[in-house]
Subunit: 232 residues, 6 copies
């Protein structure tokens, strides 16, 4: 995945990305659950590094398990620079998958963001760590209270979407979307043009133009838009 | 509906309105779902202009459908100045019914507010458009991802309430309530007096008066209140 | 319960408290539902004063019922200074259990906080009253719209936890936890040491130490930590 | 409560009872959750004997707790002949409040039925015990897995309804309804007449009469009905 | 819609119909909610006659409303012979949309079936009326307890599907599916062939053939299947 | 796992098994969701063979995917005789993970049962295939409508429980429980004794003995029970 594509995607809203994917018949790309822990207006783009949890079982999900080779700690040390960690917490928001010590370490490793359909804990500390987080809640208990960590870089579900290692994740104030790897170039190119078009339409609305015929554009509007593009 | 009644209602909290409606046996008047997209402390009042969605079907809910006569675009152009648009999204929060271009146009048409038990998209743009919004979420996908628009100015459900075109909507930081048309005068008048009474009670609590006998008022307290009113 | 223990607990995060209780086999101690009405970064500690609601029945849950001896008003007048009121609203968020007049009175009585798995109403007024509130929502309707108040200082459920009068409640930005009375000393002591340890670990992460072996600590790390403690 | 009233109620469907209560403004009388464990077509009537659970806490909800004075065992021994036990399980269906040994003992004590918004366990044994049960599910784990028993003959919630000791419970294949004590005579008398009327209407529908004007009856139909009643 | 197509559809399972619609990109065609009130093994086919409810409001949803021109009674008298009534109850299962008197009348009018994402009441009587019913529950209260009827033959949602008047409904023990009008011929023809193919595959599985290559069929299997078809 | 242990477990109810596991601190062992497709009174025991799904993505979850090496078809051919297939469908009940052709093949392969927190399709055919099924629903659409199959014999969640390949599954009319591999001998032995004890208690209840002191047994009762055991 070229850096150039990522630079383009940083200027395409998640809203527009979902519309581009709909052109390819894909409706299930926006994760229902993850929201910005603090809305900050920034858009982040990265390759998905997946984490997988199953429900807790009292004999397995213990503080001792954190020292095992298959642990969230081990997973963090495998995360490549610039990736976006996506954690399948099965929508469980009564246990925080990560707290401040783990998000601090992720910042040290230059992880771009954490996305989960679960919760984080130590909210104050997580905010202080400056790791951008999209999550479905905040909870005091540790992951082992409700979850057993079972592995990384496997296919997962997150917020009702399938996420595969290497899919591209984009997140902004509207939430997080997943772009299948083979559609990234398509989405970036069409998305950039779509943003140009919507910017022009916004100007038209500001001028007082009515919506029918403008958005979506009819033939006359398309001609006016093309003319405007050529002028620039 | 006289403007004077609306001016009175602007000073009556939604909390008080629900209590006034309870006097008439109406418990189902507060919409469970719509919350201020940004809490801002303002109270808005307007006649309901209803919008109705049913679930998406892939052959109908397409970007192309936005160009049809029955479309959210067409509905917006029918909205009268000062109305509050109320959209029945069946509580679905995984698709945004409106984005920034549509809310910009609503502002141009002097629509007072948008209320929905669904979500909006393009959050940053919607905020920039300055349309006051009460909604149940924010989502990147367009309405067609989950919803099919079928008409306007029909009876709808929103957040568990029945809303008929012409009912009066009041919304503030406690959410949105619907007042049946024939009860608006009653609610405004009794509500205004109720607010006066609660303001006096607040003063009493500040003076250290205990709650029993004060709120609700017993006979002695009522006499004191009446005396205080006459003094003013 | 000694004030000294409470002072210690004020410096122990709810996250740490849940981990200490897990050592005793207790997983169900964090209430799923109550969140700070406004995140403010403060941690509050107090003995639980419980309030119990059952669902509304139209002949019982009326504004008139507020004048009865068994009423939320009567309960508030029984609350001891410094307590934390915990209200079992059965997770119903479509009616506000308390509004601003009641929270003002609680402040007058020096109640430390209100915790509920239900909603409050008159949000603007409740914020103005300065009572710290952890709740699951905001709603305009009064309690009688959905709830019947039946008593205080009984065992209750709140957010999926059992709460008994006299249990200790701690709440911060991660939510609210309940500590069984007989475990308070244990939690305070072990929790304080745990916080010291995590502070040291945070320093290590800042220095770039990897997580495995550090958190949780292996034998080598423990030795380094003990040495550091002795140095101080 | 006279036995005669109960005999009348045995011939009034729960559907009709809800309609009679609606005449008194009561909509919240049907419990959403309890269903017949096996549909059998019988209707049962009895005074409510209430049982109350709160969520489990691992230090309290243990098999050992079953030997405590406040236990489901103790409660069963207090149940009067002919009562209907109504258990508030907070809608939790992942733990069975009672198994076969307990339902056998209830049959020995001539308890008329068990109604709960929770689950039972040992389904095969419960069926063999012949206790009529209305519940929301079947689960293998014992109550202590998810619930702590805290008392009996207190006001409770069950399936979204308030139930007070001594309220009258009627259950049939449409579920379970609660009749406030002071409305039992009204419901029995009006209900019996309503059943007579509906029986006549059924005959009319069988003859091919259209619904409008028949159900509800207009003036002409009422006259025909009165004439038919007098003939009998 | 020709009767012949309906005869073909009567032999195509709802499972197969969903697979045929998936070929056209339609995934949202099975209603999540309606189940056979009594599983009986029969498959029913008919044109959709839609009914629409919104939530109850206490001043509107009264027994008196049943005498109004826009009422469920009026709707039933408009139902054409052989249609399948599909009622949008917004998934509310705490009020029965229809009871036995109404289902008796529907049988008199030769309505083929009732499908709803809500509940019916008077279960015993509804069963006695012999109207085939697919519903999401059984409840004692009448529709007015939770619902207001607002019209018929409008676009509706039912169990997460859009249903338009004139769409074709097929229901069997797997539930109810909706076929868009313009795809009925396609679904009937392809579905019938699909059933033939699956019947042959069933025979192969009975003979002990492994699944890979058989289902779905690879080229070799397809050749064998075509040969078998020609033999018949 | 010896066959003898399995024979013992076949006589231990799932209810008793959960109580035995509680002795080891394990509360999360009963799957919330799977119920017998038809209650039949039989108890089945087998080693877990796990199947894992993630949500559907339109480009992946297609009928074509069934021909891929990683497919439910491939998984079935790997199932060892006597195993119980446990499928993690994330609780999604709007798509059937398996239909009749697949369950027929499982019967051919001597699979003991299918357990899932999702749904099956082709109910009539699945019943005809005679494979014992515990599931959370029945739905017409194929798995690809809502699910993507990603692998087998991995750790999974099912009905809120962690299930690892090789754990032992027991299912009867109370649902399905999972026994961690290293606790199977403990559960079988203690469970068998527990069943003996409960059988004796049932006899006591039949004789009219009161519950307190009997269940759980106090010292006197224990002595009587031991005496009775010795007599046999």
């Amino acid at each position: 995945m070229s850096d150039a594509l990522f630079d383009v995607l940083r200027k395409v809203t998640t809203a527009t990305i979902t519309t581009m994917l709909l052109k390819k018949g894909i409706r299930r790309c926006w994760m229902n659950g993850p929201k910005p822990l603090v809305p900050h207006g920034k858009r982040l783009v990265g390759s998905a590094f997946t984490l997988r949890f199953v429900p807790a079982r009292e004999d397995l999900a213990t503080p001792e398990s954190w020292a095992k080779p298959i642990s969230t700690r081990g997973a963090i040390e495998e995360m490549p620079e610039g990736c976006i960690a996506v954690a399948d917490a099965m929508g469980i928001v009564s246990a925080g998958i990560f707290g401040d010590i783990l998000t601090m370490r992720m910042v040290k490793r230059n992880v771009a963001a954490l996305v989960t359909d679960g919760a984080v804990r130590d909210k104050a500390g997580v905010l202080a760590s400056k790791l951008p987080v999209w999550c479905a809640g905040v909870a005091a208990p540790a992951s082992v209270n409700g979850l057993t960590f079972v592995g990384w870089q496997e296919p997962i579900g997150c917020g009702g979407c399938a996420v595969f290692p290497g899919d591209v994740i984009v997140c902004d104030d509207d939430g997080a979307v997943v772009i299948p790897q083979n559609l990234v170039a398509f989405v970036a190119e069409e998305g950039a043009e779509h943003e140009r078009m919507e910017t022009w339409i916004v100007g038209e609305v500001e001028r007082g133009v009515k919506l029918p015929g403008l958005y979506p554009m009819n033939e006359g509007t398309k001609a006016r838009y093309e003319a405007a593009k050529n002028k620039r």
